[in-house]
């Protein structure tokens, strides 16, 4: 081949790679990533130098701090689970099963994928709630087999879906609420209610009375002639009724919406599925959570990333050691990264300072006198580090923090991501009040560079 033709071919290859870098094509990415499979021996070339890395000795103070963090983490494990239990609603008789959010089926934001550890009980049409709030109805149940036994991945059609409908009423409008009956389902544009784009507004359909002003909205499905088992959610909250300041342009009718009390986009961690079955019908059901994954001890190559614009490191074990894409990597109860790519013998991990890093978060208030010890934050995404090395996190604040002065909180991971167990420590930050989005300045835990032992979370991936 002539040098001119070879040069032309090289230009074409470089152009193609340039385009694929900016607009990645999944199958080509997978093929190119095989090039990285050979990097494990490259990493091991420098193994004799690994001793020059950090001093891994931890003193008594470090040990005491790690123990305190572990206690707080265990408290959060239980606290998050308890969030699904209603506080002021007396739910209908029958067994309600705990389920944990593990993602979105096929990436749809109007559906939620939850995992149930007791197969054979959940049916399509059963209502789903979290705390005192209505969430949606079961639309699909898939039986799966894990190493600890069978379980089910359940798709829930959220009330935000365009197809979702539930009958509702304003309970403070007369004893029976007859003045204020309507149907709720789907979303309206928040701008019509002079709200920020991050806020969700549920649509109100066919109101019995268009002069409704406001008030708390509750599920009120008829027991006879209603759909499936939706009535089991009667009494659960949908949110607060709101009138749009201006009438709808096309129909000149007043637009009514409901401001939900939960963040449907990223704040759903634990839910209850109301089965309607009695204890006698089901027999003994131990509604205890089965271990939802396990930790695998792992070894990293102690290098910073060769590209200063990235933050992460390589593991010198990969898929053959049980490492999965999306898995949390932790030291003790501190999350230090998430796996983004896996080969048979190596894996890439991005640290909290890389914009690839995102986790569901919970804040534990550090001041006395808070109404609740904790606050569900939804999804936190890294924006990199500031000049002082602190991690910047984007917090959408779909539901703003309780009013008052910005207060300090310790941030932990929540549920909603199968690869990240709840209760892993991120660091401390001032939590701003008011509508979002906000940028949180996260101070990493003290001695965050002392890593004695790393472990990676092995989990059952959610079905897409």
């Amino acid at each position: 081949m002539g040098s001119r033709r070879r040069g032309g071919l090289q230009v074409v290859v470089c152009l193609v790679l340039t385009v694929l870098s900016l607009w990645p094509v999944a199958p080509v990415e997978r093929i190119l990533s095989m090039l990285a499979w050979g990097t494990r021996p490259v990493l091991l070339v420098g193994r004799p130098l690994w001793g020059v890395g950090h001093s891994f000795a931890a003193d008594d103070e470090d040990q005491a701090r790690w123990e305190r963090e572990a206690e707080e983490s265990a408290f959060l494990e239980d606290w998050v689970r308890e969030q699904a239990v209603p506080r002021s609603v007396s739910s209908a008789s029958g067994v309600a099963l705990h389920a944990e959010a593990v993602g979105r089926p096929e990436g749809k934001l109007d559906s939620l994928l939850v995992r149930v550890w007791h197969p054979g009980i959940v049916r399509v049409g059963m209502p789903v709630t979290t705390g005192d709030h209505y969430v949606g109805l079961v639309e699909r149940v898939r039986l799966r087999q894990g190493p600890e036994g069978p379980f089910e991945d359940v798709s829930v059609q959220l009330i935000t879906s365009g197809q979702a409908r539930i009958q509702a009423s304003l309970m403070d409008r007369g004893a029976e609420g007859e003045d204020g009956r309507f149907v709720v389902g789907g979303l309206l544009a928040p701008e019509d209610f002079e709200l920020g784009p991050e806020r969700e507004v549920l649509a109100v359909h066919h109101p019995s009375n268009r002069k409704l002003e406001g008030g708390e909205v509750f599920v009120n499905e008829p027991l006879d002639g209603g759909r499936d088992a939706a009535w089991l959610a009667n009494g659960f909250r949908l949110g607060t009724l709101r009138r749009a300041p201006k009438p709808e342009e096309a129909t000149r009718e007043t637009l009514l919406g409901v401001l939900p009390g939960v963040d449907f986009e990223s704040g759903l961690y634990q839910v209850l599925i109301h089965t309607g079955w009695t204890r006698e019908e089901l027999g003994p059901v131990h509604d205890e959570e089965v271990q939802r994954g396990r930790w695998v001890t792992i070894q990293r190559a102690p290098y910073v990333d060769g590209a200063p614009w990235r933050e992460g490191f390589k593991l010198i074990q990969g898929a053959r050691a049980g490492v999965q894409v999306g898995a949390a990597v932790a030291h003790g109860v501190r999350i230090v990264g998430r796996v983004t790519a896996v080969g048979p013998w190596h894996a890439d991990v991005v640290g909290p300072g890389d914009s690839d890093f995102a986790v569901p978060g919970i804040a534990v208030w550090l001041h006395e006198g808070a109404d609740s010890a904790t606050f569900v934050m939804g999804r936190l995404r890294s924006l990199g580090r500031d000049a002082e090395g602190r991690v910047l996190l984007r917090w959408p604040a779909t539901l703003a923090a309780p009013a008052g002065e910005p207060v300090r909180a310790r941030l932990y991971t929540g549920s909603g991501d199968p690869g990240v167990p709840r209760g892993l420590l991120l660091g401390e930050a001032e939590i701003p009040v008011g509508p979002g989005p906000h940028v949180l300045v996260l101070e990493p835990p003290a001695d965050s560079d002392v890593w004695t032992e790393l472990r990676v979370f092995a989990f059952e991936e959610a079905l897409r």
């Binding site: 050979g38 490259v42 990333d305």
Partner: protein, 185 residues
């Protein structure tokens, strides 16, 4: 390919991996997450690429590029396509210049190293931002690219000094001599 040339490619892998390991392990010792210090460290794989590409016969330039890009992949989270594209354009730049300019001198090879390091660093940031930060808005805006270039200047300067001072030695590291053998017909 003769076995001696194969051994030379292997030695290039070892030298590049060793150089990157020393640099990145020491950086990890000083600042575990890299931070601002990382911008003051040379891009050793790229420095080796420029040093070798200006010296080896033209037929080996792309081979050296591929080998060094793979080593680089071992030490970064950057996507393989971006690393291969960045290094590929540097090789094409050197090849293009070699057809009309003497590039082995201290000044030309330093200038090439400066341009290559700056270009590759900006390119890596553009790819990262496009893939993760600006997906909703398309490509990164030009003022952001300027800020990226400004951030990358220290690394480009240090890489430039490294290639200027040690480039000739880097191109003649032990074990690489088979790459310089003249082809006999």
């Amino acid at each position: 390919m003769k076995s001696s040339t194969g051994i030379a490619w292997l030695m290039l892998v070892v030298w590049a991996a060793l150089a990157a390991s020393v640099q990145l392990a020491w950086t990890h010792r000083i600042v575990p997450f890299g931070g601002h210090l990382a911008w003051w460290l040379p891009d050793v794989c790229l420095a080796l690429l420029v040093a070798i590409a200006v010296h080896v016969p033209m037929r080996h330039v792309m081979g050296a590029t591929l080998v060094l890009a793979i080593v680089r992949l071992g030490f970064t989270q950057d996507p393989p396509a971006a690393v291969l594209a960045g290094y590929g354009w540097v090789a094409l730049l050197v090849q293009g210049l070699r057809t009309g300019v003497e590039v082995r001198g201290v000044v030309p090879r330093s200038l090439i190293a400066f341009a290559a390091s700056l270009g590759v660093a900006v390119w890596g940031q553009v790819v990262h931002a496009t893939r993760h930060g600006f997906q909703a808005h398309g490509l990164v805006p030009s003022e952001e690219v300027l800020a990226m270039a400004q951030r990358s200047l220290p690394q480009a300067l240090v890489t430039c000094v490294l290639v200027g001072a040690l480039g000739a030695g880097m191109a003649r590291l032990p074990g690489l001599s088979p790459l310089y053998q003249v082809r006999r017909f």
